[in-house]
């Protein structure tokens, strides 16, 4: 039983190899036609440029197209990442540092306040 399974596997591997060779058979018909004059082969530099350089350039271009919009949009807040942006105060005092320095604990404690707290 086990022997049979091993044989089936071997047959499958051999079959797929054979099939690949058979499918490539038309390549054997590539003989040179009359008047056909192949040019010089690619130098290794050209080959590198065409087969590695061009795909690389395409990949870089696609990458740029993907990331450019978000780069142009600027940093975006992501809850799972740490926050590194500069503090912003909308409608705050003209000189925030001076105003904060001038607030004393007594002054803060003097009035009552309301509001709400939340976490996310």
């Amino acid at each position: 039983m086990r022997d049979l399974r091993v044989r089936a596997r071997l047959a499958a591997v051999a079959g797929s190899l054979l099939l690949a060779v058979l499918l490539a058979a038309p390549a054997l018909a590539a003989t040179r036609d009359d008047g056909e004059e192949p040019g010089r082969g690619l130098s290794s530099g050209q080959a590198l440029l065409i087969f590695i350089g061009v795909p690389l350039a395409v990949a870089v271009l696609l990458g740029l197209l993907t990331y450019l919009p978000s780069i142009a949009r600027g940093p975006r807040y992501r809850p799972e990442r740490t926050w590194t942006a500069n503090p912003v105060w909308f409608g705050g005092p003209d000189d925030p540092e001076e105003a904060l320095r001038l607030t004393s604990p007594e002054e803060i404690a003097r009035t009552s306040r309301g509001g709400a707290s939340a976490q996310w």
Partner: protein, 131 residues
């Protein structure tokens, strides 16, 4: 380590417009601080609120602390009469919902709008008691 701006120019305009609308339509002066709090967030928010100056009593401070994921809304003594803590909590809840999905601007704009709407409601002196 601070680096870069929290908002793009357009986002800043959106927030500034929301604050202006709150003032024009509800006479509610809201100030929004986005940054890390120093020490306890609530205490820091109250410090920022006091730093708003002499008219702090009639102003609202919103502290958004993305680093600690904390939001604090501080209402001055006078504002509190037309903007109760329940309305502030409701706005806070709506804001944190946006923050959770990473949209600070939308959260702030919505929150400011909700605060302004709540503050606009005219005070009813003879309110039927609801039990």
């Amino acid at each position: 380590m601070p680096s870069g701006d929290a908002f793009t120019e357009r986002q800043e305009q959106e927030i500034t417009r929301a604050l202006r609308v709150a003032w024009e339509e509800s006479e509610l002066r809201v100030s929004v601080f986005v940054g890390s709090s120093v020490g306890d967030p609530r205490a820091y928010a109250e410090r920022l609120h006091t730093a708003l100056g002499r008219d702090a009593r009639s102003r609202v401070l919103v502290l958004v602390d993305p680093a600690n994921r904390r939001l604090e809304i501080v209402t001055g003594e006078d504002v509190r009469r037309r903007l109760d803590d329940r309305a502030a909590a409701l706005a806070a809840l709506s804001m944190t919902t946006s923050f959770t999905v990473g949209d600070l601007t939308a959260g702030i704009v919505t929150g400011v709008r909700m605060l302004a709407d709540a503050a606009r409601r005219p005070r009813v002196l003879h309110q039927p008691s609801v039990s």
